[in-house]
Symmetry: C2
Subunit: 238 residues, 2 copies
Amino acid sequence: MDRTPNAARRPQLNRARVLAAAVELADRTGIEALSMRGLAQELGVVPMALYKHVANKEELLDGMVEAVVGEIGPPTGGADWQAAVRGRVLAARAALLRHPWASRAIESRTRPTPAMLSHLDSVAGLFLAGGVSADLTHHAMHALGSRVWGFTQELFPAPPTDPAAQAAAEAAQAATAAQLQAMAAHFPHLAAIVAARSHDPGSVVGGGCDDAFEFEFALDVLLDGFARLHRAGWTSAH
Amino acid sequence: MDRTPNAARRPQLNRARVLAAAVELADRTGIEALSMRGLAQELGVVPMALYKHVANKEELLDGMVEAVVGEIGPPTGGADWQAAVRGRVLAARAALLRHPWASRAIESRTRPTPAMLSHLDSVAGLFLAGGVSADLTHHAMHALGSRVWGFTQELFPAPPTDPAAQAAAEAAQAATAAQLQAMAAHFPHLAAIVAARSHDPGSVVGGGCDDAFEFEFALDVLLDGFARLHRAGWTSAH
DNA sequence: ACCTGAACACCGTTCAAGT
DNA sequence: ACCTGAACACCGTTCAAGT
């Protein structure tokens, strides 16, 4: 058999293989470099062959997000609601850290996918199971925002997800002493708080901060705030 | 004079005119539809003419962000630090709401622009002037994240900034009764908290929530948390 | 049913040439 | 000094054709 040259060396294309290859390619080259044509080439196939398995590029990205969000796995019960939500958010973060492009892909979606809704539903369920009102849970979920996916838009601009460009950006970011002095002159308050940063004296902005610490600090401030409002019987008066 | 046909009807191109036209075009058509070629056409000029005034598209976007962040204006002093920071963040939000594409443009920057650094410096200055330690200020700024620009990645995916696509998305989002029941069956906790939303019973996800309320709710939870840590003499042990 | 080839309507950007 | 024209190396996607 092997009627076509392609079938001789490749298993038949299907949606799962297309999505897996797209995830792998994005892991390797960044989301900006991911194109239908490049993905087709990776699969040893002509670009139009992909369109039998995904309707268009938007649906490809939906499928990739679905795959990553699906990695989060089911919630582990037991703890109080504050610890349970914390654990689930950090599990989402762990999944996203494995795919640096994923936060950008999630941001670019214009509609939630089933796996996204399922994850949100499970987080909401942890609040409600802990006795938090639907009203407070609703506003708490909004306040978490993209933090329920394990990321947030950071204070300083994000480095590109393309690994090569990322290395270049980090090299460019290593500030000289002169640049540091110029910054201190123009932005004295920033210079003061940058001096108070947790780690890594080698870089000035963007790098040099402990991402995990900052993420958990903010998460805990929010969760403590929610707990306080819950204990006080808070309701939005609407 | 009027040597060229173009000079007869248009003032000479310069960086400010290019940036102003880009901002206006993005306001009207969305950031996704903004192209160097489209912008050139808007200005009655050939695409390559733009490259005398901006190095490339990235620098064009830098300039646009610079323009919007520059609209925030200088801080108003007087109040306690918590109110001062709150006011400044809401001023940033007001500027960004005038340009729906601006949050996406800020997200896409890989390096802070001078106006961005200046705004960050002014916010840091408000904390420090209120007696908050550089250490706590640093982590508080990280916790605010993109909220210092007046936006955050919301829980549900963002509608496209292109006004036409936005209208289409909203129409598609108006859920039928059947869809609502299906959602309640699959995602019971989401259904429960959506039912507790502030406003607008006509839509199910994404719409239907009071953006201003959610933004200020989260901002106040964070600011209250920072104030509490400040009063308790909190330090990160590093 | 699935893949291919050629084509269309776009991009950002370079280079050499005009005035 | 500033703008133009033609070209290059890309995009996503359509349509009609192959097997």
